[in-house]
Subunit: 243 residues, 2 copies
């Protein structure tokens, strides 16, 4: 059962002070909990009538394949995130969602969302907020690819992950556990794996951030933030604005 | 008053068959109609307590400025689009919205959205769909910047604009009127203005698409679509799925 400790509840609480009735409605999203192994494709591009999921433990990623076989990772999903919210609203899923680690996720059907919205309009607004926040992140990634250097991209991406994980209780200002490989980083940031390695070594040697043995450590958080021009405004997570 | 002919109603009708009561709720969004001149900033990055708007005539764009003074256009808005939906949900607006032409737009406040959602849950789902569609477009632009050549980017962007305009009755398969300058195209596609000119000339000389005197003409739609690998799936606009 979803409760005040669940990652999704923690996340939505950053936008709206949830009532008992909102929480009861949210808990109905958690009836069909399932476990998937690392590498499992929950939703694939082109699939019709796909479900959505709410991720409760583990990491996933959404991506699109290009005709030349290249992969562009659109976003990384962490606990509390929707997986494929668009897939459940759209006729045809426009992206693939894959489990990066073993994950637990609850399946959400289109009528669950419609039901929830008719019982809890504040919750509907909170879900719209969460979807808008996802869009804001994609916008930042677009700015990353369009206008930032490889080092700035990497710094920005790691800081963003850190802030998102902190909101759901999975990281702090010192750093976070991170199951991503250099291939995930390459496909997210539009770099080659060799380039990713070089950028990470440079950032480590400059005393800014270290990513080793599955952990990201912020060695100099303020300086890293300056280099990335990282401003958490677009994550909008400083406590409920709707009470 | 919003009606079946309004661009927003046409757009949302692609997702949901709107009831009389949904239409009545939608029409309340149209109480505060305003006119803005070309170049006017409706919302600026960093602004707190910004409103949102629904664009009824004219074109606008949303962008972010980078510290080095470069501008990244995130999306172009056409009639029927929300301007700054995130601005009204977020504490601080994470982007700027500027009128490209003279525009008419209706102001929407946060409590308008909450009111509408409590009266019309189907409408709430339709607005979530529209927001998800906006996100899908930003995702495509990200793929554009990350993995496509300059010619593919331009072809994809012009085809996307054409499909969006067609949905709201402002274009067809032959082309559309377009007020964008080479600077808008450059800031959208991450190219220099000189490069934009070169790419447009190449596409014209190859008999694919002509952009001259404020009009885009698709000279060879099927071949252009192949080059851009353009698939309208992500726009999800083939008639209502929720009845």
């Amino acid at each position: 059962m979803l409760n005040l400790q669940s990652p999704l509840t923690r996340k939505l609480s950053a936008f709206v002070a949830l009532s008992e009735s909102d929480l009861a409605t949210l808990s109905r999203f958690d009836r069909r909990s399932r476990t998937f192994q690392a590498g499992h494709e929950l939703i694939h591009e082109g699939q019709t009538k796909a479900s959505a999921f709410i991720l409760s433990t583990g990491w996933a990623c959404s991506y699109k394949m290009l005709p030349d076989g290249e992969r562009q990772i659109v976003d990384i999903q962490i606990p509390g995130d929707f997986l494929g919210l668009r897939s459940v609203l759209f006729r045809t899923s426009d992206h693939t969602i894959e489990a990066i680690t073993r994950i637990e996720a609850s399946e959400v059907l289109a009528h669950d969302i419609l039901d929830a919205f008719s019982h809890a309009p504040r919750l509907a607004t909170a879900v719209l907020w969460a979807a808008s926040r996802d869009e804001a992140m994609v916008v930042e990634h677009l700015v990353n690819l369009g206008r930032r250097t490889a080092e700035q991209r990497m710094a920005h991406f790691l800081l963003e992950l850190g802030a998102r994980l902190q909101l759901v209780g999975l990281g702090d200002q010192t750093g976070f556990d991170c199951p991503l490989t250099q291939y995930h980083l390459a496909d997210t940031l539009g770099l080659s794996a060799v380039h990713v390695n070089r950028v990470l070594r440079k950032l480590r040697e400059d005393g800014l951030v270290t990513f080793q043995k599955g952990r990201v450590v912020f060695d100099d958080f303020p300086r890293l933030r300056d280099i990335a021009d990282f401003d958490t405004t677009y994550l909008d997570q400083d406590g409920p604005i709707l009470r």
